[in-house]
Amino acid sequence: MDILITGIMMGTFYALLALGLSLIFGILKVVNFAHGEFFMIGAYAYALIALKLGISPFLVLFPVIVIGMIVGVAVERVLMRPLYEKYTEWGAMRDEYAIIVTFGLSLFLMNLANQIFGPYPISGPGLVPLRERVTLGHMVMMSAHRIIAFGIGAGVLIAAYLFLRFAPSGKVIQAVSQNRFGASIAGINSSRVSMIVFGISGTLAGLSGALLCPIFSAEPFVGALPAIKSFVIVVLGGMGSVPGSILGAYLLGVLEQFGAVYISYSYRDTFGFVILILVLLLRPQGIFGEKAREV
């Protein structure tokens, strides 16, 4: 029971991360390898603002959201533009450009953080003091911070889902991800949509970094593992599918916890990779994804 609840909680944070990645894949058909660094920036922003300014951790979440959005938009404006300016000319080279540029960005941000803040982890304060614990029923006990962070994460996740599903601008995003050219013909500015999606993606990743900061601590390489996990989730749920990535996140969160307890703790992070390779081999389109077709 304990394991299941921890798994579901981790699943929520994974879902926040993976949703942004999945949206970017849906819009641009590229994988953002620097996604983990958005997470890292969120964690650093949260820890530093909360420690330096000493304001209530709940208020710190707002600047974190703004910073995440700015980072996402900046990355899109500076690095992703050639992708759709040369959408048709490049053909196969598009993929390569996107992978190299985001991979380079990931290395850059990681090492920049290492250069500026040093390799030592900075631990942020919890939303409520970390010692307070909550007992659910009679067997599960966990820190109150986790519960509140879980609540916020789940709220944001539901809001993001509803936004994409029902809001007019969410429908525009869906339209572009279904057919970029068709959407452009219908008068949608797909370049601006990409910018918005990168903003949302940065926000979600930054927020999940901030919420997990008191648990994981902010350090330069903190984003690497969550990023790889969100790749696994996105592949598992079907690239570009929003419900797929949310379901995949919970699946991975729970599987990982059970694996850690019943198989081996030190190989915990390897389960994700094995799942990734298996899914790519057996069902590359994932649970909800559509089979990629080419003309």
Partner: protein, 330 residues
């Protein structure tokens, strides 16, 4: 008169043009190799000679990656993982059965060849981001297995291995061994790219569907490219482990793959001497900036972004392009 005969002069002209460009590439690359061969004589300090050997290791691995990433367009993030497999093959054989380094290196080539063939076979249906993700996962699995098999590999402690030339031989021995291997590998790559197979590989990069439509056995040539590239990386790893005398899972970090890919990209993707130029300029540069307390990866990753965003041809590639323009335009 049929159309083929009418077009023949043009066809001949185009063919001559391509051959001239290839010859230019070969001349340029040979010149660079010659400079590389003479260069360490002017470097007196043993430390910097050691740095040059490390640079050649990265250059060799980058040549291996470039064969796959630059010419075939298959973007793998696992070059360092194959170097790691090569290192541990030779290191374990030497450690447990006292195999001499030469045989160990030979076995590194065999083992990375087999694993590359298998992984290539597995990955051949995937392309673009899917392939990158699979290779990333593969690299991390390899590293985890090596790290957590304490009783065999001693985990993070690393495995000490004998050096290739026993005793306290100068770094120059290693330098010229690496150089010899690089010359042979470059020759192989040049002959391969010039041949029909090279055209198959490049056609897969440019348009896989069209290539398969024209009768190229995409499945087989992709696997072949993958395996050959892994073998070159494994060879680099096998040689290198007998230079530093220590095998450690650190050498398989994704960061190391980033270094290798970065050297190929900055030097010039899809060119013959690009990876060599990249490796030889960037590794000493990174040692140099370390003295000022700057992390070399910051500058390095920044260069990758700048080159791929604004300057696709890279260092060697743009030099070659300028030279070509000079020759053909005036």
């Amino acid at each position: 008169m049929n159309i083929g005969t009418q077009l023949k002069p043009y066809w001949e002209k185009g063919r001559r043009f391509v051959e001239e460009k290839r010859a230019l590439d070969l001349i340029l690359s040979s010149t660079i190799l010659l400079i590389v061969a003479v260069f360490p004589i002017f470097v007196v300090s043993a430390y910097w000679r050691g740095v040059l050997v490390v640079a050649l290791y990265y250059a060799l691995a980058a040549i291996g990656w470039n064969l796959l990433g630059g010419y075939t367009g298959q973007f793998s993030i696992a070059p360092a993982a194959f170097c790691l497999i090569g290192m541990y093959t030779s290191a374990l054989l030497g450690h447990y059965w006292n195999w001499p380094p030469y045989l160990g290196i030979l076995m590194s080539v065999v083992s990375t060849g087999i694993i590359g063939l298998l992984l290539g076979r597995i990955c051949l249906r995937l392309r673009g981001p899917y392939l990158a993700l699979t290779t990333l996962a593969f690299a991390e699995i390899v590293r985890s297995i090596i790290r957590f098999s304490y009783d065999i590999t001693r985990g993070d402690l690393g495995l000490s291995v004998p050096r290739l030339y026993g005793g306290e031989r100068s770094h120059l021995y290693y330098y010229y061994t690496f150089l010899l291997v690089i010359v042979l590998v470059q020759l192989l790559v040049y002959l391969l790219i010039k041949s029909r197979v090279g055209l198959y590989l490049q056609s897969i990069r440019d348009d896989e569907v069209a290539a398969s439509g024209r009768g190229v056995n995409v499945v087989w040539w992709k696997t072949f490219g993958f395996a050959l590239s892994s073998v070159i990386c494994g060879l680099a790893g096998g040689l290198f482990v007998h230079f530093i005398g220590l095998a450690s899972p650190e050498m398989g970090l994704v960061m190391q793959s980033g270094l290798i890919i970065g050297m190929a990209v900055i030097g010039g993707m899809g060119t013959l001497a690009g990876p060599l130029v990249g490796g030889l300029i960037l590794e000493p540069l990174s040692e140099y900036v370390r003295e000022f307390g700057v992390q070399h990866m910051v500058i390095f990753a920044f260069l990758i972004i700048i080159v791929i965003r604004f300057w696709r041809a890279g260092l060697y590639g743009s030099f070659k392009n300028i030279l070509e323009r000079r020759i053909y335009n005036g």
